[in-house]
């Protein structure tokens, strides 16, 4: 147990155990955190995960490549596009399938829309953790637009399965293109509104500034990625670090804040949504004509025996799929590297000695999705 900085004159503090979860408003799902508390100070926070373990990796070994595809959109249900992208990418890499350019552009557009919708959910839920109820409904209003757009292209509102091996399941129509342009126009002033209403609120700033600092060292130690590590000053974004799809052709910034506190992570995500809008706008302007699926995709995918990996920058960080093929029509092994698991691992070390509301603000700023932790 880590020693609390506040233990009085060397006497062991009187502690009690508080079970936060599996059902608790702040854990946003079935995560259980075993807190050893001294009064309202958290001395040790022990995350207990596995309540929604669904054996996705094992399921992968029993299904064909195509059958496993819908599973990937149910791991992190808030950024399903990115997750399917990783699995599709790994299979394409293994089977040597080239994706037509129009499909790549549409993948970037839909992935970035999905990133915005995921960050909007986080924005609302995080503010809810801090006791502000209203921003949630504003964010959901915006998110609704994205869900409608994505529903139009692939039929699903949450667990999208739009990407297929070699491209997409179908092409987009003009409604989607026009709708996306309208959405980009709509969102620019909305972010200004959010900054005026929320970011500049003195109560919020006092709540977040300097609270829950995570050092770059701790991020490296636990393998944290995504906005969490970018909020600690590590400019690590897979769209730049290990470029995939057409990201190298597009112009965007990677927001990095070096403070490492909750406010830094908050600002990283707010800025990332604006960068996603930039990406969408550019991709829409350059969207080429052509097919959206490669010509020669075999009905049954068979890969040469080998070990293939594909990583994407999902909304929460680095999501990597490693597939091992033994030459049959089912994977030999599917390994999913999920960002929330690594980000949660930070929590025990960084929350020691914090007060309960601050620790919950820290947990909210990590943007955990529980099925993504438990897989």
């Amino acid at each position: 147990m880590s020693t609390a900085p506040f233990s009085r004159n060397g006497t062991p503090p009187e502690t009690f155990v508080l079970n936060l979860g599996p059902q608790h408003p702040a854990t946003h799902g079935v995560l259980r955190v075993k807190l050893t508390m001294d009064g309202e100070y958290v001395m040790r926070a022990e995350p207990v995960c596995g309540y929604v373990h669904r054996m996705h990796e094992k399921m992968g070994e029993n299904r064909t490549w195509a059958q496993f595809l819908p599973n990937t959109s149910r791991i992190d249900y808030l950024s399903a596009m990115n997750y399917t992208h990783a699995f599709v990418g790994a299979v394409e890499r293994g089977a040597g399938i080239a994706v037509p350019p129009r499909a790549e552009y549409l993948r970037v557009i839909t992935s970035e829309l999905n990133r915005i919708s995921s960050h909007l959910v986080w924005f609302g839920a995080f503010l809810l953790d801090l006791g502000g109820f209203t921003p949630l409904l504003y964010a959901f209003d915006d998110r609704e637009q994205i869900l409608d757009l994505l529903e139009g292209v692939c039929g699903a509102r949450l667990t999208y399965c739009y990407y297929r091996f070699g491209g997409l399941c179908n092409d987009v129509d003009d409604n989607f293109i026009e709708g996306t342009r309208a959405f980009v126009r709509r969102m620019q002033p909305r972010f200004k509104l959010y900054h005026q209403l929320v970011t500049e609120n003195i109560i919020l700033r006092k709540r977040l500034e300097g609270v829950g600092p995570i050092t770059a060292e701790q991020c490296r130690k636990y393998g944290a990625s995504g906005p969490v590590c970018r909020g600690s000053g590590i400019p690590y974004d897979l769209r730049r670090a290990e470029p995939y799809s057409i990201y190298p052709e597009l112009d965007f910034d990677i927001p990095v804040f070096s403070e490492g506190d909750c406010l830094a992570r908050y600002l990283v995500r707010m800025e990332e949504m604006r960068q996603s809008l930039r990406l969408i706008e550019q991709a829409l302007n350059r969207l080429p004509d052509g097919p959206v699926v490669a010509e020669k995709v075999p009905r049954t995918i068979k890969m040469a025996p080998g070990d293939y990996c594909f990583a994407v920058e999902a909304a929460r960080g680095r999501f990597a799929v490693r597939v091992v093929s033994d030459g049959t029509d089912t994977p030999y092994r599917v390994k999913l590297r999920t960002p929330s698991f690594s980000n949660l691992s930070l929590f025990e070390e960084t929350s020691a000695g914090m007060m309960l509301p601050d620790a919950l603000a820290l947990m909210g700023s990590l943007d955990l999705v529980i099925p993504d932790i438990d897989r």
């Binding site: 009690f16 508080l18 608790h24 408003p25 702040a26 009064g39 309202e40 503010l127 809810l128 953790d129 801090l130 006791g131 502000g132 109820f133 209203t134 409904l137 504003y138 209003d141 609120n201 109560i203 919020l204 006092k206 709540r207 609270v211 007060m355 309960l356 509301p357 601050d358 919950l360």
Partner: protein, 329 residues
Amino acid sequence: MSLPEPFRLLAFLVGLMGFVALNAAYLVWVERKTAGRIQRRPGPTEVGWAGLLQPVADGLKLLSKQFIVPPGADALLFRLAPLLVIAPGLMGLALMPFGESLLALDVNLGLLMVFAFGSINVLALMVGGWASRNKYAIISAARVVSQDIAYEIPMLLAALTLMMVAGTLNLSEIVALQEGPFWRWNLFRLDLNPLMPLTFLIFYTCMLAETNRAPFDMAEAESELVAGAFTEYAGMGFGVFFMAEYANIVLGCSLMTVLFLGGWQSPFGAYSGVWWFLLKLYFLVFSVIWVRWTFPRTQFYNLLNLSWEILIPFSLFTLILTAAMMKVM
């Protein structure tokens, strides 16, 4: 009134109970509608016209639920807490002069009595939290005690300033002294104390904190403590806590109306009456609701720091300033 005294009091008490219950029910409706409008959604619409029967449905639901005393809880204290929590609101309102002749009890120490009864509220929440034998409830109880004590001091200091201005503790006399157009209200009596609006603001902030309303809803802090002191209460046990919250808001706002906004006095010096009191009261109540749905919750130590480092020094300063000005002028 020609009724003999005990009957008059009884009539008033029954009336006040009805007033509190009606307020609790329909302020919930107002709150939900306001929250809806602030959040760009319609709020309750299904039960009755514009959802007006929603409070009835909610009340029936709460009444039909079992009152469960959790095993291991202190059954007596657990049952006592909801009674304790509703009492101060009722007692305080009995002292409130709604109109020139519309008050249940005209007591010379009215202001003091309101504060004396008001502090029972803390005790009730603490008892409820403690008796529940629930860790969240106990954390919440500890928070309530430190928060309410910290905020009672600047609130009392602000009330003391008012007492010096008015020279009396009798609430109806305080209102009577503010007779005339609105610049005779204590809020605008800058000749007596140039910092009167600041005192008003301090009192308002303390009132929010004392009634455990957002952004100071530490006791309930849903995303931290589930439901705080009320976590273990089911059915009408919870319902009474809920009613008490609104009763306390009404009490706090009517106290502010009496102290700062001239009670039943009309702003143009004519047509004074109980309607002005209610208008001012509900304007303040609405602002309380508005604040709740606009701001996030403060952090607990910031909350205490705000009281000890800002509100108490400032309210002391206005008190001394008022005293000095009274001496000089």
